[in-house]
Symmetry: C2
């Protein structure tokens, strides 16, 4: 990947990857979360933590919309920009017909691409956002996603009041929203290293036939395995190229499966793998079973903890790989499987 700035090299790499000629800058990252996330290991790095996860609204869905709106506003203020400076907004969430997103961003009046990749959506949004910037279609874009424990439980599982038991393999949906501002130029205020998106690997749908919605890690691990394998091959690199390979929300169960699946392909990421779902909560004290999940899991972890490690030059290169389980309550009730997807984003610190 040393020839990344060579203008003669095609942007298309291998089967499904892209290497940017003018890698877009991440000029701001914002995170807004709930009380539980604030009490977790990244609490001190999250921009805004709300004690009241309803945010004074009448419904969980409206609260989730508000989380996203606040994340966008925070990203704008950190980048010293106004909403009219943003050419396109790329966003999504877990709710049917993306209602958290639509109602959250409507009044910002930014031209909008609605995306759905379940919990992988922040990877999809950063990928398409980087494409818009590198291709000279936009100067500044925002990529943002949200999720909410209560709206997600209602959407996918049981009403909260039902108080059903959760198996060990179940994950805990992260409440909040995380986003980034991408630009074709360095930001005004550069704190620490300059951070850029070097490339992407767009995921394929991978279906291993898992049907247990209380075990999403197992459903998504094969997709993460597939994207990592293709990514390393497309880019011609070894896993050690990265300081960290950061999956989205495989959790404890899915992460073990991923490492095993990759070992079968003679790929060892056991030394430098990290999973946002494993890290965003303290498993023991916070009773979160297999770990965190949701569109906000990778988004908030990236926008709080990961970006800090890059800014502080503790890490130089990471592969962010948000993972998604592409099922719905309807598909589950109809006895269908849970196909997975994972989108890889190469993020590097300079200077």
């Amino acid at each position: 990947m040393s020839n990344v700035v060579n203008k003669e090299v095609s942007k298309m790499k291998g089967k499904q990857s892209i290497l940017f000629k003018n890698p877009p800058y991440i000029i701001a990252a914002s995170s807004v979360a709930g009380k539980k996330e604030g009490e977790g290991p990244f609490g001190h790095l999250i921009d805004t933590v709300h004690e009241d996860v309803l945010l004074g609204k009448d419904t969980w869905e409206e609260a989730e919309s508000e989380f996203m709106k606040e994340a966008v506003e925070k990203a704008l203020s950190k980048a010293e920009l106004k909403s009219e400076d943003i050419r396109y907004l790329l966003a999504g969430d877990l709710l049917g017909q993306l209602i958290a997103t639509s109602f959250g961003i409507a009044e910002l009046k930014i031209p909008f691409f609605g995306l759905f990749g379940a919990c992988s959506t922040i990877g999809e949004a950063m990928s398409l956002g980087a494409i818009l910037i590198d291709g000279n279609f936009a100067d500044k874009v925002i990529a943002v996603t949200s999720s909410h424990f209560a709206s997600a439980e209602k959407q996918f599982r049981f009403p909260l009041g039902y108080g059903n038991q959760r198996p060990y393999s179940a994950s805990w949906t992260v409440t909040g929203s995380g986003g980034v501002v991408l630009s074709n130029q360095k930001g005004k205020k550069i704190e620490g290293a300059t951070i850029r998106i070097r490339g992407i690997t767009v995921g394929k749908i991978v279906d291993y036939g898992i049907k247990d919605t209380m075990n999403m890690g197992a459903a998504m691990a094969p997709a993460a395995c597939d994207t990592i394998k293709v990514h390393l091959s497309d880019m011609g690199i070894e896993p050690t190229y990265y300081d960290k390979i950061i999956t989205g929300d495989l959790g404890y169960v899915g992460s073990d499966i991923l490492i095993d699946l990759l070992k079968e392909e003679n790929i060892d990421i056991s030394k430098n793998h990290m999973d946002c779902g494993k890290e965003i909560f303290d498993q023991e004290s916070q009773d979160t079973h297999a770990g965190g999940s949701g569109c906000a899991c990778a988004a908030i972890t990236f926008a709080s903890y990961v970006i800090k490690q890059l800014q502080d030059r503790k890490w130089k290169r990471v592969l962010l790989l948000p993972t998604g389980s592409l099922h719905s309550k309807v598909s589950y009730n109809e006895g269908n499987t849970m196909p997975g997807i994972a989108h890889g984003v190469v993020i590097e610190a300079e200077g």
Copy 2:
């Protein structure tokens, strides 16, 4: 727009539009639909019409997935390509968590961007697909969307067995799927004119406070008005630049509102406006009230009737403007409005 091939001209036009430097070619368009659509005015132009809208499946959702899969396979065969020749697939549908899409395309194993813009999704998919091609990020992509009368009624309204009455303003969800293959090169077999995507205008969310899900035309018309107004201003053209300005599924009610709203802005499209929702069914004989709707409405109309007019050189330039109502059953039941969005795609015939 005469200087479209001038390499010095920025791709960014005005506030929210893009003019492509190397306008992507539409090298194939495919349409697969149900019996009712087959009996409509475009029936003879639709590639495959199925008498059994369940397609032998157990559920409406699985049937919708199959429609999309068939549309992709048909597009591939018309373009004389295999699925491995397609670098990225951009797709979406109306169902929560895009299950029609995920289960429809999983086995094709094409790297995938999931999109949601309600019935505007084919506009979003063609826009991002064209960006991928023009920006040199892909050589060939597919943009495809689906909808199904029965799965949509179940998702958004009442069970079919309930047999509720439909007001005049209600639309009829189109059953089927339509898609296009975009390429950076002319197709092998060129029938008629060469067709290219010249530019796009990405829509903003516009919310006029409409709450009646049986009147989606009224909810989407303000968004269509906004995108058309911005598009004409960004591109510096008059409505007469186009042979047709083709909205997605405003239907009879929404189309009248659009024309009135634009007249207030001193923009007259009454002479060259067409709405896919008004045209895809015969209103009188097919009992479809305000017209057709759904992600497949604009997709199938474009891939059957519109592309034929362009190929036959009856039209030279059209603005395709799929329209979407960004609501869900949950947001409706919680008393929320129906925000609208419309994405504009400039399609021109050469030669």
